[in-house]
């Protein structure tokens, strides 16, 4: 080194007058360190940067920098028809596409004041709950991987793969699925799909116990989750958290019970609620929710009766696919519904749906015609990031990763 720069900064370390013995210690210069975490960090589940202000290894303040995955989905919605927007919703939360489609279709149905046939409601609920299991499996695997327990990842992804293959058979896509339609669903289950769901219902519950064995008594897992990133119920409500992040703090708020949509009112299930509001409680809630989802799917499979899967409102709903290929009028109708759209009434609605991350809501302003005038997506990941600074203060750098994970953020949904 050629020469050493003279340090101009003031020392923060001061001698405490009440403890003069510290005078004999060498004067230590301490300062806060700024650390850019991301945007290319594997644990940020997408492209997210967080500027951490550190004192030693403790986080003093954190500033999330978002928008790396911003694609202007809300602007795109204004340019397309209601039917055209369904495939855009898959790309919001790309690990749980089905639930986004569900939330969007529900919002448009509320705008159009439609009722959905019973069988379609059951099918929607079954697929939504399967999607919830996929989401929680994905979360569990990646959260454990981030913390350092790699084995769980292989087990959860093994079982997630079964369900993704099932999606593949249902609608031809594994991740960016578009099976929900405004007014119902695209097609009914065939016998092979029903058999596979039933097999899965027998197969899956023992597997949940298998994951729990890896984690419940794992000292590293407990040390990194119990008491980490606690948030009080008051704060959680004030920040607008939802889903497992809110219920972990002991607030019993679940739109499946609160709004009674789909086939949920006809099923018996309970909402697991945590006590301490820490990462461990949120983990426990997700595990219990998988067990509850199995119960819901079981009940829906038993209660479901044959019937139509699409509402009979030809001015809004799409004609069945087999008619589109054989009948000219149906083809014209399908073409018109996609290119011009249906005539929505003037008004505005907000409709929230309990996705596995939290409340996914759509606020639609319509001035008539086929396009929404304004569509706002209330995405849980974005709102959860608002609480990040509050939850991360005072914890270590390595806990920042646990905190991203505990919200289950997906940046596609956060940045929209």
């Amino acid at each position: 080194m050629a020469h050493r720069m003279e340090d101009q900064r003031e020392t923060i370390y001061k001698v405490d007058p009440e403890h003069p013995e510290t005078e004999s210690l060498p004067t230590l210069r301490t300062e806060e360190l700024l650390l850019n975490m991301g945007p290319q960090h594997p644990s940020t589940h997408g492209v997210l940067k967080v500027i951490l202000e550190l004192e030693g290894e403790r986080i003093v303040k954190s500033t999330p920098v978002m928008g790396y995955l911003h694609r202007g989905v809300e602007k795109l919605a204004e340019a397309g028809t209601y039917h055209q927007f369904i495939p855009h919703t898959d790309r919001l939360d790309y690990v749980c596409a089905m639930y986004n489609n569900f939330a969007y279709c529900r919002a448009v149905e509320k705008l159009m004041d439609m009722t959905i046939p019973d069988r379609a409601e059951y099918l929607r609920t079954i697929v939504a709950e399967i999607q919830r299991i996929i989401g929680h499996l994905f979360w569990l695997g990646t959260q454990a991987l981030d913390i350092g327990a790699m084995t769980v990842f292989f087990y959860t992804f093994r079982d997630r793969e079964i369900l993704l293959d099932w999606f593949d058979e249902l609608c031809g896509a594994r991740l960016t699925t578009s099976w929900y339609r405004i007014g119902g669903v695209e097609r009914d289950f065939n016998d092979s799909l029903i058999k596979k769901v039933r097999d899965f219902l027998d197969y899956f519950p023992p597997k949940i116990d298998e994951y729990v064995v890896f984690l419940d008594k794992n000292r590293i897992w407990l040390a990194r989750t119990v008491g980490v990133a606690t948030i009080s119920a008051e704060d959680a409500l004030s920040f607008g958290l939802s889903g497992p992040s809110l219920r972990g703090s002991g607030v019993d708020y679940d739109l499946r019970k609160y709004e009674q949509y789909g086939a949920y009112p006809k099923c018996e299930f309970s909402i697991p609620v945590g006590k301490n509001g820490d990462t461990y409680d949120r983990y426990w809630i997700r595990i219990e929710e998988m067990r509850e989802s199995i119960k819901i799917i079981q009940q829906c499979m038993d209660q479901m009766e044959p019937g139509p899967v699409m509402a009979d409102v030809p001015s809004v709903t799409l004609p069945p696919k087999d008619r589109v290929f054989k009948n000219l009028e149906s083809m014209i109708q399908q073409f018109k519904l996609f290119s011009q759209g249906f005539d929505a009434p003037v008004g505005e609605i907000y409709c929230g749906t309990e996705a596995h991350k939290g409340e996914l809501g759509f606020y639609i302003v319509s001035t008539g015609g086929g396009n929404p005038y304004r569509m706002k997506i209330r995405s849980p990941s974005f709102i959860h990031m608002g609480a990040f600074d509050n939850m991360a203060r005072g914890y270590m750098i390595s806990d920042a990763i646990t905190i991203f994970g505990t919200y289950d953020i997906v940046m596609g949904e956060c940045d929209r």
């Binding site: 978002m66 928008g67 911003h70 202007g72 809300e74 602007k75 795109l76 204004e78 340019a79 509320k110 705008l111 004041d113 704060d235 409500l237 004030s238 920040f239 607008g240 958290l241 607030v251 708020y253 609160y258 008004g347 505005e348 609605i349 907000y350 929230g352 409340e359 809501g361 606020y363 302003v365 005038y373 304004r374 706002k376 209330r378 974005f382 709102i383 990031m385 608002g386 609480a387 509050n390 940045d415 929209r416």
Partner: protein
Amino acid sequence: MHAIAEHIQAKFPNGFVKADEWRGDLAITVTREALHDVCQFLREDPAMDCDYMVHVSSVDWPDEDERFEVVYEVQSIRKRHRVRIKARVPEHDCIVDSMVDLWKGAEFMEREVFDMMGIRFANHPDLRRILMPDDYPEGYPLRKDFPLQGKGWRDTFDFLDDPA
């Protein structure tokens, strides 16, 4: 009229503009000056008890005098009601009071509204762009006069013909 709307009309006779109920959603329009007081009332009054902020949004109506509409949707989890509070602001002075002191989650949601629509919030602790880059020069993307189609790589070359 809905009981909550009547309550707010009685409490804020000057600030109340109108109330709509459509598809089960209650929307109350208030003046910009009364917006913070109405929200504070909704937050703190035990009968209202709106402890949860659902979303903050904004709508652009370019043909009207008061161009922008700020939308706050708040909810009471215990009392099970949801209220949408709206206020209009003109383009030359688009600023409303921030709700961060009432709901902490409003910080990020209001930043998004500022970023996308250019509406400013008074007393906001950290009003910066959130999704677009900090130095984004081309305005506010969700305004109706912002073009849907952006500039691409081809536009950087003068020798390529203008497609229009």
